[in-house]
């Protein structure tokens, strides 16, 4: 590894969060963010976007035995941006639901940019933050809507005898 401080381990909580946000972004959002970027590095595909199936496994209540929930369509992509000589060789990865190749490609590119100290702050503020706030807002709206229909059940227990 060329520079341990710059390259983030793939399972760091930060990276997990931004990869999740990028995966849930709309392609149009990523496209707009990409064109709005001050410097757009060129990149090569380590693995061009490819669509396949993944088996989603679940656990009832998070404690039960694991079972196969079902298969879902997923597109994955790996890119290697060219940051110029002296920069760490970073790899951007994306796994997104559905079959939108462009979405996977842009998500992977942004994942690589976020690992680079020179781009991290800009991309985190201009790309990830708006996506995360939109996702939070949508979730809040859905929760609020669901809360309107909440019914509190009272169970009348028949007296024994």
């Amino acid at each position: 590894m060329p520079d341990a401080s710059a390259a983030r381990p793939p399972d760091s909580a930060d990276r997990r969060r931004w990869m999740g946000a990028l995966a849930r972004a709309r392609t149009a959002e990523l496209e707009a963010a990409w064109t709005g970027l001050a410097v757009r590095p060129s990149y090569a595909f380590l693995r061009a976007p490819e669509t396949g199936l993944v088996l989603v496994r679940g656990r009832a209540g998070g404690i039960g035995a694991a079972f196969n929930l079902g298969e879902m369509t997923m597109t994955r992509c790996a890119v290697r941006p060219d940051f110029g000589t002296g920069s760490p060789r970073l790899t951007g990865l994306a796994f997104v639901a559905g079959r939108d190749h462009r979405h996977a490609e842009l998500a992977a590119v942004f994942d690589a940019l976020l690992q680079h100290p020179r781009y991290h702050a800009e991309v985190a503020a201009a790309v990830v933050a708006p996506i995360e706030s939109r996702l939070a807002r949508e979730r809040q709206e859905a929760t609020a809507q669901a809360a309107q229909t909440r019914v509190d059940f009272f169970t009348l227990v028949r007296e024994q005898g």
Binding site: M1, P2, P10, D11, F45, L46, A78, T91
Partner: protein, 203 residues
């Protein structure tokens, strides 16, 4: 990833530029080579122009074509660096047990006795270990005479870098047929196959 060591991707380069077309063309070459033991075939120029795997170009192309999550791979000592490449691009598990491997990549024949590999079982003789051996040359070296299915009379192949004892050990596996071990010899962008049915004699 839930299991296995974390992959270090910083040294991994791209695989096939056009995965479907290139895998098909390499598969066709492997088929031709196996159907005509001793015939030297060569990767087309557009296939795998960049190879960062640490394997010979031909061996890497065959790996990208034939390996998947169901084919455990065993790597010779000096080819360990190819493990990450194989895991990333092929999704194949790396095993330390040669008997458990479906494909074994060797930098030359010598250290490893052939009996270390799997010859398949009688119900499924195809579930054997296929050896991909990288050799220094397929045209300059001790002459081998090949005969058997796929060869009209005899054909010659000059393989460098394989000790004579290897061919003796291989001949001892012949009575096990239909069990056996298939060989692919890779040199740069060329390769040749010697399947289990071929009889090899030294010159």
């Amino acid at each position: 990833m839930a299991t296995g060591a974390t992959l270090d991707l910083s040294d991994i380069g791209p695989g096939f530029g056009d995965p479907v077309a290139h895998a098909q063309s390499v598969f066709r070459l492997a088929l031709d080579a196996t159907a005509h033991p001793g015939r030297i075939v060569e990767l087309p120029p557009g296939v795998l122009p960049v190879n960062t795997s640490g394997l010979a170009d031909a061996a890497a192309a065959i790996a990208l074509t034939l390996l998947d999550f169901e084919t455990p791979v065993w790597l010779d000592g000096d080819l360990q660096a190819a493990g990450d490449y194989v895991r990333f691009h092929c999704g194949a598990p790396i095993t330390a047990d040669p008997k458990a491997s479906r494909f074994a990549f060797l930098g030359g024949a010598g250290d490893m006795p052939l009996s270390a590999f799997d010859t398949g079982d009688i119900d499924y003789p195809d579930r054997s270990t296929t050896l991909l051996i990288t050799v220094p040359s397929l045209t300059a070296g001790p002459e081998l005479i090949l005969r058997g299915p796929g060869i009209r009379d005899t054909t010659a192949l000059r393989v460098d870098g394989i000790a004579g004892g290897f061919w003796t050990a291989r001949a001892e596996l012949a009575p096990l047929f239909p069990l056996g071990i298939d060989l692919i010899l890779a040199c740069g962008r060329q390769f040749a196959a010697i399947p289990r049915t071929t009889v090899v004699t030294g010159a």
